[in-house]
Symmetry: D2
Subunit: 444 residues, 4 copies
């Protein structure tokens, strides 16, 4: 198990090199001593330096399969946040004037380095987020594809040229970087989503301030190190840790020109409104309640496999997870077989080779999932499979929820109206395709 | 019936205005006298003037439903051809330097004028080419869509602009016109295909020499008049008539930079090779033997309607016509119903309101179609429906072939290997989709 | 002088046809009677019907050259506004499913109709806004170019298609309309800016609610009529009149998905924040203080002509007007010649053939311009040319300001920090190009 | 000095791995023995195997600075050529169906490997082609940029998608690979031009047959090894050696769908015509006579530096080399300074660190350059600087030509009409910019 291993060193500046070194080569003895003393503190990245926060408040990063404290992130102080934005602002003029070909080459190198460290990244994700190693590899890989895409930015950023649109007048357009941009990340894809954000932004010539999820910041830290190893200049990518206060500070800061957010609806709408009020451009990617419609003439085998994968994969903690299936006509009879296949999934710590599903992210998340299942039962839904009381040997403290299937769900139930974000599949019934489509379209 | 009505006036220059006038407003008396004297001669369009050719050789343009001579086209003399190219070459520098917005506005006007004269254009097509008025309207309409498209050329012709690709270096691309371009047209779509060619070419800033089909030049002449009415400057579009010699002259001319051709395989391969040898860019759109595969679980009604329309529409004289259908498994039994529907199609002169199919283009074409049907029969194919001996009352001289269906066709038959280009549908049989696909892919 | 001539007819629905008719063919007698009775009221356009507002509050539309009341716009009632949005919402499903080619053809027709009515549109603009007829033609023409552009929307709205991105997976993107969009227009370009907005929006498949400037709504009304004559279905374009309350209603309405605004900084920032807080997409095009830098080796003649045109054209009421010129080194000596040329400009009502400059939009605007000139003088700038006291014979009541030139302007002066939006050119001085560029970049 | 070191092993198949190994790790003893025995033979690459040709005819690859035989290329036998095309044809179906993302990743790896082996590639180029090591690095680098570009092919190869263009009809376009493509390379950029050709072609899904220049095949061989190390499947890239016969075989082969050629006008026109006659797509990039115009108010220093670099860089053996300069007015007096700067250039073997110019490619090339200089002198041009008799110590056998400047050149001289392709700058004179531009435009 990889662990971040920065010692509490109040004002020491760790260069990326140092950071990387310590990260990889601490002796077992040191690791032991660290384990028994304070958990390591995750530094901010400001102007090219990994700096421990001066804050007195820290939050634990917890392994959801074991409840072990993996590390601690600071509630970054306002002056530290300002320093990060300032570093990004200072880095902008020279970075935007760096030829696009040079900027691309940093990405060409970064994709090579991410491939090299794929296993380390995946192990960190499993440790902090809980998903299986295979899912964690997929998490990195989906992000890696964006780095590859950013490697071809010169073509994508080209403007247009029209000659002689009027006598003696040529016109052209240039796609220019905006300046300092910021990204606010959710916990469910700790590598993919940071990699959606900063590679494209910086290759376009912007500089960046990234706020990883406070629940699993490790992958962002490792990716930032790799970016710097790949040649990204100091100040182009900065990282600050924290929760609501940092999010608000990002929304309000005059020097930040644009924000990319992925996460819950509540947070997304807050950020869109608050940051727009300051004249920012905001991209807010929020939650969804994805439905599948199953027709009676579909291929049984392919359909059930797809439902099981989409409904329970990554413990249902994906914005693209399938949370609701509407069976049309006789297809409803496939539910027994669906339960059978769901039962066969192995719930275990993500590090275990046989795991199909890992734990959900936190005790709170598990409690919420269980509460919504219970409310479904109380509202009249039928519990075909109940994963709430699962115990995983060796990981008795983990936030595990087994695959759960509720049938007879109706549109008025709370379990249907809320996004559950856990391995719970709701089954509904419709007489015709039209009725099924209407159900889907009535959902917000 | 509209008819071109240029009197034989050896050296008179007809301005477009005059031409249009005569075309539309000749008194019945004059029409009568023309009908009994020589048929009108179709002029060339050179440098903005409609000029009768000095040639001593002319070819009749014949109404395929009546055998009436509609007009005559000249075998244009070499010096006349050279004058047309020279006019296009002279017009090029000023036209290419005309702002793209101005060039677009000619197309914006042209689309308006084509709509205005839609009925006249369709009537001319039916008269010279034979297809029904509805098909003739479709012929114009498909070309009109290209004129509309050319109206937005400024967006389509934009190059790309990349700033600061290396320190202090911006790069951009410009899409430039080539110079004099030429188009060589087939008889089957006398409005659509000229409109595929010159509107895009000239709006891009090229100048053009068009050779219409010698069988139905009327639509091209009317379109050229409309283009000039729309504001296309003299010399930007030129028209020359003729046959092989003109085609070869186009291939060989040093001042023509690019050729667009639509027509038969033989001509297309000749033109591609001959013009390329002179360093030209050549676009050669040739024939095809289109197959349809019918699976037994397809919708019977929709499938048969589609087969009848694709197989017999426009008397099969479309490069996209469906000439062969491969029935898989039990679908083969639908043939009886197919015959029934094909039988119900009304064969008549295109000007008659009840016509579903008009005549084929010429006596030669009819003979060739009949010969290929006969060879199929002799090679063992079964003639489910025979349209060879059809007689259309009032149009007994017309080149009519009724819908014809041959079944049991095999890959070695001549009727299968040759493009028939008539209302003949060949039926084949396969046991599986794979076998059907293999048949299609084995065809050249 | 063209005038809107809708009689006060409390609940009469005027069809577009009727509206157009009355607009054009009232007898002089009727016009006289209208002139002596109430000014005409401008109707809203809701769901395809021109409807007079039930509001009890109206605002005068005033001819800035004569102070004559041209018409009155209503402060539209909230239920009328809601009816307009509702009409747009209802029209959306069928309009978005109308093929893009059909939608384009409405624009192809609209551009033809705008050309036809160019003179009428220009006369209306001059009457309500004050600019010269030539500038008014330019106003329409710049908008017409956008309609032409929208005629090629099919190419511009295409998504991308990538086949086999992974085994058996094709991906494609579709550019979809958003739903109901809204536009909020300024007074300075009463034809161009509405034409920036609704043609692109509706051709993409959106439906639209337009709020014209309360100072010159006439061009918008005429354009809406033309759009309907061109075939735009009822409800696709709607118009509501009013001031702040309507703007806020647009910002807050749940059914409006996006807003396009052009106007002042204050309004723009308010709208961006307020509408974004409701999750809308907002495009806010605001003011600017444009500078020109003049080098001593520039061509004197071309430079001075450009300065005079850019500084005083359209009475300086353009967001792209040049309000400040920085002379580098000896170029400062050209000021005398600049004054001479500015003096030669003829200030007159826009309808007069010799007018180079018309009046500014309102008495308030004139007062503001004069106050800012005065503050410049008081802060130490030198008044090289003073246009404040100009009197135009026959138009003594007009809001005229003649070309005005202040030199020795410095960065701390109020006249420099505020956007003057009148025919006032500020002259500054720099020793070098670098210094001049620094001045420009220091300006907000 | 790197040397290819394939022993004469008539039928041995060398795998890429073996080839690479031998290439890099032969002991000094072996090298000595090879040097004294036969020069190594360059194998073809067919279907993933490096195969020595069975041909009895070989051509020497000669180091132009020393006349040493570096290696020998075979005049590949027809059946070997056919085997290469056949391998490419067989590899096509599976390679075209390989996801574009996978194909891109081969390029992402290839760019990494080319960077790794940059020095080795440059040394090979200097050895076989003669240019300086710095120029050789540039040669590789310009090609490397194309590999980087090909790494983003997924974006570039996307088609377009238009939904609902007519009721219920979506349309999309796919950019498909053609099949087997071929490239024919010149000697002057032995890395850059092969890298223009095969990376783009294969990443698009085509398979490839490359014919390197017979004068410097080494870089192509090394690049092919790297491509296979990067994961390019067997048969996707094939290499055949030879001269005219292979070129003609490529033109005529039925299975080759497209040809890319870079080289002389004579060869280019021949290939364009011959391959087009077989229906192929041909891209023929040929020679040019590039002119520079120098105005008297240009910056003297920057201009002369640019002239010297463009005229004599890479010994003038670039299609973009500047061979003619037209001085306008007084600028003609700069010639003395031009001569001074040209004289200061150091002519030496490319491997020597102080070399500014290396030798020209062959004795024949040197003879031709000298002959054209002499003809200029005889036609009345003035020889301001004569590089013909240069002797380079230690490389007395090299094909060296020093910088040469002829002034008073006129349009009728042979040295002006022919492309010299050596370090020779022709000076002309014009009275005005217009005259200078006319001179340039009169040149073919």
């Amino acid at each position: 198990m990889l662990r971040l291993s920065i010692r509490r060193a109040s004002t020491t500046t760790l260069t990326p090199k140092m950071f990387a070194l310590k990260n990889n080569s601490l002796s077992t003895a040191t690791e032991q001593s660290l384990r028994h003393s304070d958990p390591p503190k995750v530094p901010n990245l400001i102007g090219g330096s990994f700096l421990n926060s001066q804050s007195s408040e820290f939050i634990d990063v917890i392994n959801p399969a074991t409840q072990q404290v993996v590390s601690q992130i600071p509630l970054t102080k306002d002056e530290e946040f300002k320093a990060a934005v300032s570093a990004a602002k200072q880095a902008f003029p020279s970075w935007r004037n760096t030829p696009i070909t040079t900027r691309q080459r940093v990405m060409l190198k970064l994709q090579e380095l991410i491939r090299r460290d794929m296993d380390k990244l995946a192990m960190n994700i499993t440790t902090e987020q809980g998903k299986t190693l295979k899912d964690a590899q997929g998490d990195v890989f989906r992000g890696l594809e964006v780095v590859e895409h950013a490697s071809g930015m010169a073509s994508l950023q080209m403007g247009e040229f029209a000659s002689n649109v009027s006598h003696g007048i040529d016109t052209y357009s240039i796609r220019e970087p905006l300046g300092v941009c910021a990204g606010i990340c959710p916990f469910n894809f700790p590598a993919m989503i940071p990699l959606w954000m900063f590679p494209v932004a910086v290759t376009c010539g912007n500089t960046f301030v990234l706020k990883p999820s406070e629940k699993d910041p490790g992958a962002s830290m490792m990716l930032a190190e790799l970016a710097m190893e790949a040649g990204l200049p100091s100040g182009v990518l900065n990282i600050v840790h924290g929760t609501h206060d940092i999010v608000n500070a990002i929304c309000d800061d005059e020097d930040i020109k644009a924000i990319s957010f992925v996460g819950s609806n509540t947070a997304g709408m807050h950020i869109y409104a608050r940051a727009s009020a300051k004249g920012k451009r905001v991209q807010s990617n929020m939650g969804a309640k994805n439905h599948g419609i199953v027709m009676p003439d579909a291929s049984v085998d392919a359909t059930l496999n797809a439902l099981v994968a989409a409904g329970f994969g990554a413990a249902g903690q994906r914005c693209m997870a399938l949370s609701t299936v509407v069976f049309v006509g006789d297809a409803t009879e496939w539910k027994n077989e669906l339960v059978k296949r769901a039962k066969s999934l192995k719930v275990n710590a993500g590090t275990e080779p046989d795991a199909d599903l890992g734990p959900v992210i936190s005790k709170q998340a598990k409690d919420r999932v269980c509460r919504l299942i219970q409310s479904g039962v109380e509202n009249g839904a039928k519990l075909l499979l109940d994963g709430r009381d699962i115990v995983v040997p060796g990981y008795e403290q983990g936030n595990f929820v087994g695959p759960t299937i509720l049938s007879g769900v109706t549109e008025d139930m709370e379990c249907y109206k809320e996004e559950i974000f856990g391995p719970v599949l709701l089954c509904m019934q419709a007489d015709s395709l039209e009725e099924a489509i209407n159900i889907v379209n009535r959902n917000k």
